[in-house]
Amino acid sequence: MYKSKSKAMLLLPWLLVLPVVILRAFTTVYPIITTVTDSFFDIRLLAGKNEFCGFSNYVKMFRDPKVLISISFTVIFVLVSMFFHLLLGVLLALALNMKFKGQRFLRTIVLIPWAMPSVVAGMAAKWAFNNDYGLINDLIRRIIPSFNYNWLIYRGSARAAVIAVDLWKDLPFFAILVLSNLQFISSDIYEAAKVDGASTWQSFTQITLPLIAKGVATLCIPFTLWRLTSFDLVYSMTSGGPGEDTALIAYRITTEAFTNLNIGYASAMAVVLFLIMLAFSLLNMKLTNSKKFET
């Protein structure tokens, strides 16, 4: 079809893709290389320092109590949030799949948390968890009138609150993706099972779960990655507080880079985070490949 062998025609493919390739290269490759080199330097803008320091940023990181708190909360955040993503996400997907008159309305409203900026949810949550005037305690007090609790000033409850808001905002998105897996299951299978006398519970555990298990497992990888770099929510809701207890690693890195101006140190943390994500992504590729292999 491309009869003209002119130079323009040969260049055409590259002309088409270059704008996006250059843009992405410029915003990702170049900065990543800089981050990696910076991580071997002791760059502190406030102290006016900029000298090579080998791996000392990396060593320092694992002895810094602030970073250790961030790492431990990030791990907790990812594990707990993903556990409930799986549990409640599948349940919500089943609910969204119910055949009844309210289906379209239900599917529409669950898109609202997904579509709103995390900072809006975070700012609202900061006030919702306020002891005196917040929505949460107000609702609880309608059942237990004497209830009093200041969620965001204690470590455990502040962490639980952050995870709860993360789930409120993100579960619908997860559920919709689970739903797309559910929709591939033909209703014939359920009919057949019903004829054979299977209960609803049995057809859920024997048919639904095995059929969506692989798809849902694959979903977990990107959702885990997004949790690892979660920043907006904590920035707006708790500013990492109380103390450093809810400072997720992405928040810690950004604070070091933009507030404390410890560029080298922040870069080292960023590199470690990136390597962890890379490992996860390779795992992801392996999983998706094996899926392709089977079908």
Partner: protein, 287 residues
């Protein structure tokens, strides 16, 4: 069929109907209650906001908080900034992504092009926090920091991988014969693009634009760290002034600003529910 089984079936139907609506009510409450609370807070006079229990039907609804946002916080300016940045991002971003997606699919037999595509997909995995500081220094050095072109460039970059991924899939569904027929009739590349490809890709482009609109509106990191004076709505909401309350959250203004952001989102979601669902399921979203 016997009468009794008919009744039993009916009974089952009623029961599952009730269960459906109970689940419906629980989900609707959990999702909508906070949204409703933000709305009524935004129209409650600030003085009545700080009291317990919460009055879910404010006695003296007022737009005072909105007026304050307009006259003292520069709300209209921030709306203007948001609209300009997202508008140009969608126009230019979609344009270069259509070209890119077409190129990546039609010439995927070329090794270099295919590698370039894999590169675009791989960059999806690079988190903003890792690239932030060097990019910030660079933007400052070349004078793009705190400018519309600079912000728009970063916004476009953030939507590229997802958009390319989805659109490339759709180019694949356009039969080659159509293009060949047009070529035989003497249509050049741009004519084929405009008269054959674009019309066929309209639904896909619409879906991608809808989801990118939401992603751009949600973008917080980019406008927070790469601009200063040009403030968009998502940043403005975390930097509102405290009026006369001592609770650390200017909830009167925050709820009003929150509702300004939520209103278009709710409308959008209500109108485009189907396209959004399709888009999410097609690509697993998030730029």
């Amino acid at each position: 069929m016997g009468n009794s089984t008919g009744k039993k079936l009916n009974g089952n139907k009623v029961r599952s109907g009730v269960i459906h609506w109970v689940i419906f009510a629980i989900i609707a409450f959990v999702v909508l209650m906070p949204v409703y609370w933000i709305f009524i807070s935004s129209i409650t006079p600030p003085g009545e906001l700080f009291k317990s229990p919460i009055d879910y039907l404010p006695d003296h609804p007022t737009l005072e908080s909105y007026q304050f946002l307009v006259s003292n916080v520069g709300l209209l300016d921030k709306i203007k900034n948001t609209v300009i940045i997202i508008g140009v991002t969608l126009l230019v971003g979609t344009f270069i992504c259509i070209l890119g997606a077409y190129g990546f699919y039609r010439f995927s037999y070329k090794k270099g092009i295919n590698l370039a595509f894999l590169f675009i997909v791989a960059t999806m995995l690079i988190p903003e926090v890792v690239t932030a500081r060097p990019l910030y220094e660079f933007m400052k050095k070349v004078g793009l920091f705190d400018t519309y072109p600079g912000l728009i460039m970063l916004y476009i970059s953030s939507i590229v991988p997802f958009t390319i991924l989805i659109l490339r899939g759709f180019v694949g569904e356009i039969p080659m014969v159509l293009e060949e027929a047009a070529a035989i009739d003497g249509a050049g590349f741009w004519q084929r693009m405009w008269y054959v490809i674009l019309p066929l890709m309209k639904p896909a482009i619409a879906t991608v634009c809808i989801i990118n609109f939401i992603n751009c509106l949600n973008n917080f990191f980019t406008p927070l760290y790469y601009s200063n004076h040009i403030q968009v709505l998502s940043v403005a909401i975390v930097e509102l002034p405290l009026r006369d309350n001592m609770y650390g959250v200017p909830w009167d203004l925050t709820s009003a600003m929150g509702w300004i952001i939520l209103m278009p989102i709710i409308l959008f979601v209500a109108i485009f529910e189907k396209q959004i669902m399709d888009g999410i399921m097609a690509g697993g979203v998030k730029a």
